[in-house]
Amino acid sequence: MGAATQIDSTADSHRPESVIRVRQLRKSFRTKLFRTVDAVRDVSFDLHRGELLGILGANGAGKTTTIKLLMNLIRPSSGEIKIFGGSPRELKARSKVGYLPEGPYFYDYLSGRELVLFMARLSGLRGKAVAKRADMLFEQLSLADAKSRSLRNYSKGMLQKLGLIQAIIHDPDIIVLDEPLSGLDPVGRKVMREMIIEQRKQGKSILLCSHILPDVEAVADRVIILADGKVVTSGRIDDLVKRGEDLEDLLVRHISSANIKSGSLESPVSQEASNGAV
């Protein structure tokens, strides 16, 4: 932890404020009685204020586990997470975060509007102002006609949009999105992407985890690539891709390299990542 603190003290003078700070994060799961597997190993990164950071990686790379650790749904085996300087266990820290989980499932006996207002109440918001904001968000995401409909009758794409509305209803400073664009048709993807960009323009800090690389490429300021539970590279996309490469090539290159060297991963790790901070 001492090393991480040292890195941070030098980095702080050059970089914008970190709203999320993750250091040497590790999460092990017990698979059998005496066997554990590391889903996340020594992951370190920062989400700076107002930036959109993409988390990329193959299935099982540790993306969703990292996000669940940030959201306090699971506890780290070791390492540190700070959200605005506080632990994710603290309500104050969590009140500033909006979260859209992967493949969200909501209370299907509620209508879309009821659900969003319930989520707002859980964040301590009630009254006319929040109802007005909810209506505005339904309008912006082209769900206004369906807001009074039971969630049983929502398609996967509609649920995904609703997931974004409930994630931002309390106007959080940090938005964590796990696969927000999956299951959406091209029009839905465009609407969601525009909403994400709009949030970023408003100064929100966004952590975006997605398999749809062109979408990440279009909106992310920086990316980190996870493979086998570790950060294998990070930085601005333009700085990471080689000439003639696109993001997909970059991802494949790093994942292949990580797979080959798994266990003693030293391949193209960016200088930032190897220093412990991204």
Binding site: I74, R94, Y99, F106, Y107, Y109, L122
Partner: protein
């Protein structure tokens, strides 16, 4: 405030669940059956109808408590709705207790509806609604509160099937606490004595709450004759609240350590 928001949402969920209406329909059928059985007996119509009605309401309530209590928590965890709720600025114990209160509110409404049904049956039969029947209904509801607590407790760390089995087991033991104590006193096997004593100490003594037919103050208690007074019902409430509080306290400790991977 958050606690009541969660409770209200749970109540809404339970009330909009069609299976609950199945239970209610079954309850009405049961009361109609009690009326029919009562009509078959000579001079004991009111007595039989009330006994069958109260026993039916209690048993049906227990099944509802086990089903609704175990299933609501499981559904949230299995369908991952907790992923959107628990990252909010709420404590996990608020979520668990809110769920409990929502289920209890649902059972309160169902118990009131059944009580109204029993009152209608009594009215049709030309009998009177004694205060003792109201007290019996309150005690039945308190017993349901304890059973929901047991169900939520087991649901905090197991599957609905296991939770339902364990809850029904606790219910059976709870109703047999005096007999289990008797067994402990009469058994010659030390292991059996200790086992029975421990069981009787841990399990809720539901005979405090399902009192009809038991002995109290040296008298056999019955809604038709000598029944318990309001202070007994009050102490029954204190017992139920104390037992549920301990259960929920342990359940919240377990639940707050639970991981949602």
């Amino acid at each position: 405030m958050v606690l009541f928001d969660i409770a209200r949402n749970t109540f809404k969920e339970a009330i909009r669940n069609r299976i609950l209406y199945g239970f209610l329909f079954f309850g009405i059928a049961l009361l109609a059956g009690a009326l029919a059985f009562g009509a078959l007996s000579v001079q004991e119509e009111e007595r039989l109808t009330l006994d069958l009605g109260l026993a039916g309401i209690s048993l049906l309530g227990i099944f509802m408590a086990v089903f609704v209590g175990g299933n609501l928590l499981y559904k949230e965890i299995e369908r991952n709705t907790v992923y959107t709720v628990l990252p909010r600025p709420i404590y996990r114990h608020q979520w668990l207790i809110g769920k409990y209160l929502g289920i209890v509110a649902t059972l309160a409404v169902m118990t009131i509806l059944m009580a109204v049904g029993l009152w209608v049956v009594c009215f049709v039969q030309g009998g009177a609604w004694h205060q003792s029947v109201s007290f019996a209904m309150i005690l039945i509801f308190l017993e349901l509160c304890v059973i929901v607590g047991v169900s939520v407790f087991f649901s905090s760390f197991s599957t609905p099937f296991v939770a339902a089995l364990l809850t029904l087991g606790v219910f059976a033991v709870g109703r047999l606490v005096p007999e289990i104590r008797q067994l402990a006193a009469t058994s010659e096997n030390v292991w059996m004595q200790n086992f029975c004593k421990t069981l009787a100490r841990i399990a809720p003594n539901l005979r405090y709450l399902y009192i009809s037919g038991s002995e109290y103050d040296g008298q056999r208690v019955s809604v038709h004759a000598s029944f318990v007074d309001a202070s007994y019902v009050g102490w029954g409430g204190v017992y139920a609240i104390a037992y549920v509080s301990i259960l929920l306290f342990i359940a919240t400790i377990i639940f707050s350590r639970r991981e949602f991977s």
